[in-house]
């Protein structure tokens, strides 16, 4: 019955006109961003961070989360209509979605995508409702050593998925942690590495790092990229409803996809892309029509869409209950919470129940909005894709500048953003991915805090991390993960460049 009262609290928080409006704005913007190739959900969430400072924390998180899962929806639209994945995790949807569209069945593909996504998302939400409180309760038993180990595991997981190899990923994590040490040390009150700039006393702002690394440097990379317009072939939209046999064929794949997605979503570092690839590969093997996958089978659209939307929801489980972001976007969500003075971790659910349950209920509303939005607005998205996308980049640059400036009216922050933009660009040139850097930057200060506390409790004995079974097990998993990446990447289906 506790669950019911919690959900009632969630409804009371989420179902206000104010929060519903921001939820709608979030999913709408998210779909928009997802449809447009070139700007990912990460940049979108980063750009909205400064706006979210002006909102109450629940509303801020509801909106940012809406952008994030809305982009999953939008990504599949570009995949099906244009064979261009709007988001990386939608690339699997191209395999069967685009052939369906070429057969004149784009309407059916989009409709089944909407239904499968909705189903997957709801499945993920249910998993989250059932699992999060239990996990949080378990995590309360953690001491500083275990926390340190969980964070190390999260950081390792974030770096091994980096396409340029685990070694470079770990280096970027280290760089992020080091950047996080700039400013006043909370233990001693001493300032560190401010190199004579008083503006750095409070540390480098998360918004500045995120906007520079993912906004400015992305624009630098893609502004002059292939600027072909995405003029589509005439696509018949007359039919939306799948046939009766297609409905029946989709039930199994939808459930399997959702289950796989929910599982991978909770693991740090894997996320939606891996979930949709694994779901598709598995379905291809077990389906009686598996040999026809890739020619426009409805199952090939249903599975990845159910999987990546389920994963998008369950990714919030470790983020909110342990304070460990599984992906870069989740790291930004975590940062948004911390800016509002809320420490994510096992106490979040009991200390801020309205935030946690409100967010969960907002997922239900948001996914409902998406379901209703998706079909009637497809015409709009298609027209939008015909606009040459060089209109986009100057707009993004200005939004970044205004966003950063609006936080503190600080010109210094804008110069810092530019510096991080150039840094991100140079790192990309030399095949260093900036994503693990951001996760290291967010987790770094907490990692240091728990490390110092654990060492204090053990009286300076570093063996504490191996003697406590919990932390030893977690560090062991991290080590196995690192060693496993020594396997050549061509054997991993999801690591191949798309």
């Amino acid at each position: 019955m506790e669950l019911l009262s919690n959900l009632a609290l969630g409804f009371a928080t989420a179902a206000t006109v104010y929060n519903l409006t921001y939820c709608f704005v979030g999913v709408f913007l998210g779909t928009f961003i997802g449809v447009l190739p070139g700007v990912g959900p990460l940049a979108a969430v980063a750009m909205l961070l400064p706006v979210s400072f002006y909102l109450p924390p629940e509303t801020a998180l509801v909106m940012l989360a809406g952008v994030y899962y809305g982009a999953e929806y939008g990504g599949s639209i570009a995949s099906i209509l244009l064979n261009i994945p709007g988001t990386p995790s939608a690339s699997v949807t191209c395999l069967d979605g685009y052939p369906m569209a070429r057969d004149g069945r784009a309407g059916v593909a989009l409709f089944s995508t909407a239904i499968a996504s909705f189903f997957g998302a709801i499945f993920g939400v249910v998993v989250m409702v059932l699992l999060s409180p239990a996990l949080a309760e378990f995590a309360l038993l953690f001491g500083p050593a275990e926390y340190f180990a969980v964070m190390v595991l999260g950081l390792v997981a974030a770096s091994v998925v980096s396409t340029s190899g685990a070694l470079r990923g770990v280096m970027m994590v280290c760089l992020g942690i080091l950047l996080g040490t700039v400013g006043v040390d909370i233990n001693s009150g001493e300032t560190r590495f401010v190199v004579g700039m008083p503006e750095l006393r409070d540390g480098v702002s998360l918004v500045v790092v995120a906007m520079g690394l993912f906004g400015i440097s992305e624009v630098m990379v893609s502004a002059r990229g292939a600027t072909r317009s995405y003029a589509t072939e005439r696509i018949s939209m007359s039919k939306f409803l799948p046939t009766r046999s297609e409905w029946l064929r989709s039930i199994g794949p939808a459930i399997r996809g959702s289950a796989i997605g929910s599982f991978f979503g909770t693991l740090p570092g894997t996320g939606q892309t891996v979930a949709s690839f694994v779901g598709y590969a598995l379905e291809k093997r077990i389906s009686p029509r598996g040999d026809k996958f890739g020619t426009g089978q409805i199952e090939g659209v249903v599975v990845p869409e159910a999987a990546n939307n389920a994963a998008a929801q369950t990714a919030f489980i470790p983020t909110l209950t342990l304070g460990i972001p599984g992906s870069t976007t989740m790291a930004l969500m975590l940062g948004a919470l911390m800016i509002h003075g809320i420490t994510p971790g096992p106490r979040l659910i009991s200390e801020h129940p309205e935030l946690f349950w409100g967010l969960i209920v907002s997922f239900l509303f948001g996914n409902l909005f998406l379901l209703i939005l998706n079909i009637p607005l497809i015409g709009l998205w298609v027209r939008l894709l015909r606009v040459p996308h060089y209109y986009l980049y100057p707009t993004v640059v200005v939004l970044i500048c205004v966003g950063v400036y609006s936080i503190d009216n600080s010109i210094f922050d804008i110069w810092m953003t530019l510096a991080f933009g150039v840094l991100g660009y140079v790192l990309r040139l030399f095949r260093f991915e900036p994503a693990p850097l951001l996760i290291g930057f967010v987790l770094g200060p907490m990692l240091e805090e728990f490390f110092r506390r654990a060492m204090l409790l053990s009286r300076g004995d570093p063996m504490v991390f191996l003697e406590r079974p919990g932390s030893a097990a977690l560090l062991g998993i991290a080590l196995v993960l690192l060693l496993a990446t020594a396997i050549p990447r061509r054997f991993l289906p999801w690591a191949r460049p798309a």
Partner: protein, 148 residues
């Protein structure tokens, strides 16, 4: 080929420099403390050390199997950076909206197909949209046009 190999080492070499800088910075300017009570310098020194070691490993591995690198696109970098610089300089002088117009015009020069009428239209639209959303909608206190 020789030059390519040398350039591909720039990335790891930069990482090595950053790592060492943090190690040296922590040791010379901050208290290291003891293992039990660590000072402010201990953690950055450890992480900086780890980064340096990893960068060194990468440098050595890179000699045998050099990792590729991408050609920079100076025009794109200059146009985008120019847009940001224009905003940073003009906002305190003229206010946010004129700064946005110049910023859009500067950034859009990256794409040659982007003709002047389109660029001007975009600049006007973006500044009106920012005014509507940020100033009117969200009520963020920005100096829209200085002296107005």
């Amino acid at each position: 080929m020789h030059r390519d190999r040398l350039i591909s080492q720039v990335g790891p070499a930069l990482m090595l420099l950053v790592g060492l800088a943090f190690v040296v910075g922590s040791i010379t300017t901050l208290e290291l403390g003891s293992a039990r009570r660590m000072g402010p310098g201990a953690f950055p020194a450890i992480v900086g050390g780890l980064l340096s070691v990893l960068a060194l490993v990468t440098l050595i591995r890179n000699v045998r199997q050099p990792m590729g690198w991408d050609q920079p696109d100076p025009i794109s970098v200059l146009a985008v950076a120019g847009g940001v610089i224009a905003f940073a300089f003009l906002t305190p002088l003229l206010g946010v909206l004129p700064a946005i117009v110049v910023s859009v015009l500067t950034t859009s020069s990256a794409v040659p197909q982007f003709r002047w009428p389109g660029r001007i239209a975009l600049a006007v639209c973006v500044s009106v949209a920012v005014w509507l959303v940020f100033v009117k909608g969200l009520g963020i206190p920005l100096t829209t046009i200085r002296g107005l």
